[in-house]
Every structure is written in structure tokens, then in C-alpha cells.
């Protein structure tokens, strides 16, 4: 029946309603006092007027002047729209001095509205609020004529938003909800731990799918802001670009190039383990590249944070002045979790930063039941992911926690750093390791780091005999090793010397032996020659004798 929807002027609500209010039919906005019904309808009006359309508001509570004033204060240009003639406000406030004397017809309501719509060519109609329309006549239940009005709205194809007050205990659907309207939206206020949160729920929507949960929203200076849940269907865009952490050795722990753009990172550690400084190093790196960033601090004021970071060589002054960096500080207890997240999302939407730091996110965690908090954080993290902003969360681990994370959100983040402090030999040494990093070859090593005036510096820890040694113990261990090495080198020298002595001895002995051999050999040769000569003489003498005898 409804193939068309009209944008509500609210991104989050459009998502929940799968496009917007059903076009050409009435939608009922039901809620108790102070739930923001009027603000919702004014936001819708403004969205319509901004697109060049026209709107008729039938006001039954506030005077037309005040409505225009509200619009102006929300930045919705009420005065301008009214002057242009595209916004028509019908004054339906009840006349309380009227006396009812008999039967009557309500045909003027329909006639006045249709007259205004036909004259202005309006596409949308707001009735705020329905139950006060007939208040002056002492009627609190909708009458037949009101149902006729809704039929007329459908016939004419006017997209209509009707607000109606709902008492707190009355959750029974009325005739109006069951019969007359195609879409019912319920607004409510919840008080939890003295903090008020507003919720929106779509009760019904004929012929269309819609989000069926309770969605928190808040009233901000720009109107309504609804916490969107766009990315609960895990279809975040794939980012392959990597961003350096600014600390080369941490980059190499993440597989060499840093973290993925738009990833969510979590840094867990006890107090004083260097979470803020690591987060700020990531922040600073992004700022150095000329990108925008937002730092949300629940613990430190802007000036404290600036000073503390300056002492470790991170100077944010210029980035703050240029507007490249926005520091938003506030105590966690100021408002409910939903309002915090909505404020942050609003900041992200207006500034579209490359990086967002929440320090520490654990401050928000004790603001409700852990299941509810986790649910909200899932929405929040996935929303930030769809925007493409890198999210850096720090988690403060309680000192008694035995270093286990009690935030159930670690499974939601892409990269998780753990910072630890190890006490040994009377000193605390800082360690960092990567618990996980999706899509990266992560180092399985625990590295030691120090915080100096140039920020975080990673050391190579001594790894031997199956245990990691850190701090001054590491230095001692290296010294011992050095001594052992020296000793061995000395021994080697000794042996080498012995070897060469042996060689020399061998060689000299060989020479002596050679000389003896030579002399003995020549002696023997001399004897051979002598004997041969003597033998020759003997033969010569015999030959001479023979010649003499012949």
C-alpha cells in the first residue's frame, strides 16, 4: 500500500522507519509530557520546507508565535518560512470560555485544515496535539469526526503527523491507533540512576518493515538526535589502507604497517599504565598528517590534558587552535549513557574526524546493566565504523581485577592492546602486547616500553631461559651475559695460543728431523759413492793385470 516514504528529517529515524514516515497517510506520535513530540514534528516540518515544500501545522497546545520561536531556536528558520507563506500555522488552541449547549458538528476543523492545505499547496500536515483539540468542548476521547479527518487525509494524500499525549499507565492501544493511523511511534522517558533517557519505539507500521527495538534519543540544540543502529548488519566497508601508530615498533607488532583505517582499537590497562599517552600518540600521528580528530575525555579537562601531554612531548596547542582537534571533556555522571553516545555521534557527524578517542570508555560502563551497555556499545562501535572514523577506546582496569577485562566489548574491537605494569626488583616496568589485531600478522611478543619526554619508546626485552626479563634486571642480565662472553673469549685465546705453540713445536721438531735425515742421507750416499769408487778401482786393477798378462 505504501511504496513511498517521506524523510522525517532525522537520519536515525529514517533508518528505523526504513525510509521515513509513510507518505500520504497519518502517523501517530504518542508520548508523555516532555518526550519531545513537538520537536519531532517541527523537525519534520523543517525538513519538508528545506526541500522547497509547504507545511500546515494545526497547533492545539502552543501559540503560533511560540512554535515559530521554537523553530528559530533550533535553527529551523521558522520566521523565514512563515514569511515565505510556505508554512501555515492554524491556531486550534481550545477556547476555554466556551459553553457547550447541545449537539454540535466538528466540520469546521476539517474545513479549516482543507482550506489551508488547498491554499498553500502543502504536502504535509502536523496536528499537535490531538487530545487538546477538543479540550475546550470537554471531550477527551476522539470522536467520529476525527476519524473522518483521517479518512480525508488519506483521500487527499497528505502526509500527516499527529501527536497525542499518553499517560504513563495507559499502554492500551486506543481506537485511533487500531483504526485510524498507519504508523504509531511511541516516545517515552526512562529514569535510571537519576539520569533520564528518552526512548523511541515504532509500535506499528502498516505494510512495511520497521525497526522494532527501543531506540534512545536526545533533544539537542539542533532538535532531535536519535542513536542510529545502521550497521547492526555487519556490512562495514572494507578498508585496506593502513595507518601508522607513529611508533615504528608498535607498527611492527601489528604486522609492520600499523592499524587499518577506520578500525576500532582498545587499549586496556590499570591506572597509570600509559593508556592516555598511547592513545594520544595515535591521535598525534593522525593530526601530524593534517587530519581531523576528536578527543573525548571523561577524566581530564582540556587544559589538564594539554599540559600532561606536553610533558611527554605531545603538543596539541596548534592543532587545537586550528580547529583540527576538538577536545570534549565532561564527567560521565552528567547524563545518561545514551545521551553521551548521542552527543559523541553528533560531534562525529558534524566534524567527520579521522580518529575519535574515548578516554576512558570504562567510565560509561557502570551507567547501566552490563547487557544494556554492551548492546549500546555494539551500536555505537558499528556506527562509528560505518562513518569510517578510527575509534580508540581506553579501558581502565580496576586494580583488583587481576588484569582481566570486565568490559564485554573486547570482542567488538579490531585491535586490542594490553598495557601492564610488572613489579620486580623494587621497580615497576611497563609492558605492552597485542592481544589481537584482526587482519594483521600480530607479534606474539611482550615488549617493554618507557615513557620519556619524547613519548613512548619501546625497548627490546631480554628473552632467554624461557622468561622475560625487564627493567634493571634486564640490564644486570645483559651484563652477566657479557662477562660470561668475555670469560669464554679469554679461554678461547688461551687455547688458540696453545694451538699455535703446538704448531711451532711441531714445525721445529720437523726441521730437526729433516736436518738429521739430510745429514744421515748424505753420509750414506757418501759411503755408497766411496764403495762404488773402491769397486771401480778393483776392476781397473784387474783389467790392467789382464792386459799385462796378455
Amino acid at each position: 500500500m505504501h511504496d513511498k516514504k517521506i524523510s522525517t528529517g532525522l537520519k536515525g529515524l529514517d533508518t528505523v522507519l526504513k525510509g521515513g514516515y509513510p507518505a500520504a497517510s497519518p502517523t501517530l506520535l504518542k508520548g508523555g509530557p516532555g518526550t519531545g513530540k513537538t520537536v519531532f514534528s517541527l523537525g519534520f516540518t523543517h525538513a519538508q520546507l528545506r526541500q522547497g515544500g509547504s507545511a500546515v501545522i494545526a497547533t492545539c497546545d502552543e501559540s503560533p508565535e511560540r512554535l515559530v520561536g521554537y523553530m528559530d531556536s533550533f535553527g529551523m528558520e521558522g520566521t523565514e518560512h512563515l514569511a515565505s507563506g510556505r508554512l501555515v500555522i492554524l491556531d486550534f488552541r481550545p477556547n476555554l470560555d466556551e459553553t457547550v449547549v447541545g449537539e454540535y458538528d466538528l466540520s469546521p476543523i476539517l474545513l479549516r485544515i482543507s482550506h489551508a492545505i488547498e491554499n498553500s499547496g502543502a504536502q504535509i500536515l502536523i496536528i499537535d496535539s490531538l487530545q487538546n483539540l477538543l479540550l475546550g468542548l470537554g471531550v477527551d476521547k476522539p470522536r467520529k469526526e476525527i476519524l473522518e479527518l483521517f479518512d480525508w487525509i488519506r483521500d487527499k494524500g497528505v502526509t500527516t503527523l499527529v501527536t497525542m499525549s499518553a499517560s504513563l499507565d495507559d499502554q492500551q492501544p486506543s481506537l485511533l491507533e487500531e483504526y485510524a493511523v498507519d504508523c504509531v511511534i511511541h516516545l517515552s522517558q526512562n529514569l535510571d540512576n537519576q539520569l533520564m533517557t528518552r526512548y523511541l519505539r515504532v509500535l506499528k507500521m502498516r505494510g512495511s518493515a520497521h525497526g522494532s527495538n527501543s531506540y534512545p534519543f536526545s533533544l539537542t540544540r539542533r532538535g532531535v538526535s536519535l542513536l542510529p543502529i545502521t550497521a547492526t548488519h555487519l556490512d562495514g566497508t572494507m578498508e585496506l589502507e593502513r595507518i601508522s601508530t607513529g611508533i615504528p615498533r608498535i607498527d611492527s607488532m601489528l604486522g609492520g604497517e600499523g592499524y587499518y583505517k577506520g578500525a576500532s582499537l582498545m587499549i586496556s590497562g590499570r591506572s597509570g599504565s600509559g593508556k592516555t599517552i598511547l592513545a594520544s600518540s595515535l591521535l598525534n600521528q593522525v593530526l601530524q598528517q593534517g587530519e581531523k580528530a576528536i578527543y573525548v575525555s571523561f577524566e581530564e579537562s582540556q587544559s589538564d590534558l594539554k599540559r600532561n601531554l606536553q610533558s611527554v612531548g605531545i603538543d596539541l596547542t596548534n592543532h587545537l587552535e586550528s580547529g583540527q582537534l576538538l577536545i570534549h571533556s565532561g564527567r560521565a555522571i552528567e547524563m545518561g549513557l545514551e545521551d553521551h553516545l548521542i552527543t559523541i555521534i553528533d560531534l562525529v557527524e558534524t566534524e567527520s574526524p579521522r580518529l575519535l578517542v574515548l578516554d576512558p570508555v570504562s567510565a560509561l560502563m557502570d551507567m547501566g546493566s552490563s547487557r544494556m551497555v554492551k548492546m549500546l556499545m555494539i551500536r555505537f562501535i558499528s556506527h562509528i565504523k560505518t562513518v569510517g572514523t578510527t575509534l580508540v577506546l581506553t579501558e581502565l582496569l580496576p586494580d583488583a581485577s587481576a588484569d582481566y577485562s570486565d568490559l564485554a566489548i573486547s570482542s567488538l574491537v579490531d585491535t586490542w592492546f594490553r598495557l601492564r605494569q610488572v613489579e620486580s626488583n623494587g621497580e615497576l616496568n611497563r609492558l605492552i602486547y597485542v592481544v589481537k589485531s584482526r587482519g594483521s600478522k600480530t607479534s606474539n611478543q611482550v615488549k617493554e616500553f618507557t615513557i620519556g619526554e619524547n613519548g613512548i619508546l619501546l625497548e627490546d626485552p631480554y628473552i632467554g631461559e624461557g622468561e622475560v626479563v625487564v627493567g634493571s634486571a634486564r640490564v644486570t642480565r645483559i651484563k652477566q651475559e657479557q662477562e660470561a662472553m668475555d670469560r669464554k673469549r679469554y679461554e678461547l685465546d688461551q687455547i688458540e695460543q696453545a694451538l699455535s705453540t703446538l704448531q711451532t713445536a711441531y714445525e721445529s721438531k720437523q726441521k730437526v728431523l729433516g736436518a738429521e735425515y739430510e745429514s744421515e742421507k748424505s753420509e750414506l750416499m757418501r759411503k755408497i759413492t766411496e764403495l762404488k769408487r773402491q769397486a771401480g778401482q778393483t776392476i781397473d786393477q784387474r783389467d790392467a793385470m789382464r792386459e799385462l798378462r796378455d
Partner: protein, 122 residues
Amino acid sequence: MPSEKNASDKKHHFLLYIDSSKTKSQHVTDRLHTICRLHMLEDYTLEIIDLHDNPALFEHRRIIAVPTLEIETPESKKHRFVGDLSNSEIFIAAAGMKQEASKMAKKAEEILGKIKHLPKSS
């Protein structure tokens, strides 16, 4: 009824907003005349405005139901009544008509008293 401007402050002014297409609006004029006659209110003006002829005026006067009757009494008091006057008691009381009628009765008594005193004085 002849309406004279000089005597207007002594008159009741009736302004009746109706929707001529609705039955509840059709008999209200007759009923108004009858009530006035019964309560001895003769000096009044009546103007009838049909919704279909002048929707802008309905907007201006913020009228949401028909018939609506606006009365301006000689004391410049304004009242607004919604309905077809079938519950005339409230209307009569609120419009100050009974008071008018009782004034008449008082006057009648005074006149009667004067008449009674006549023989004594004569």
C-alpha cells in the same frame, strides 16, 4: 427585527456560525428566536455566517464546532456557546436572559405596587 445604531448598546448582538450542510445547524436559528421570545428578549440583532462562505473568518475566530453562537450583551459581556441550543437552560442562564426576565417581573411588580397605591393617594 429593525436594528437601530443609536440603541445598539441596549441590544443583544447575536453572531451565529453555522455549517449549512449540517442538520444541527439548520434548526438553531428558529430555536434561538423561540428562546428569545419566551424570555421576553426582543431587542436583539442576529448575524448568520456560513462556514462554506467564509472559512477565513472561522480561522480568525478559531471556531472548531458548529453551530457556535457569540453573544454580546448590552453590558458588553461576550459569551460563546457551542451546540444547537437543545440544552437551552445553560444558555439562558449564561446569556443573562433569566436575569432580564426577572428584571421584567420586578418592574411589573413595581408597576403593580404603584397601581395598588393609586387609590390611597387619590
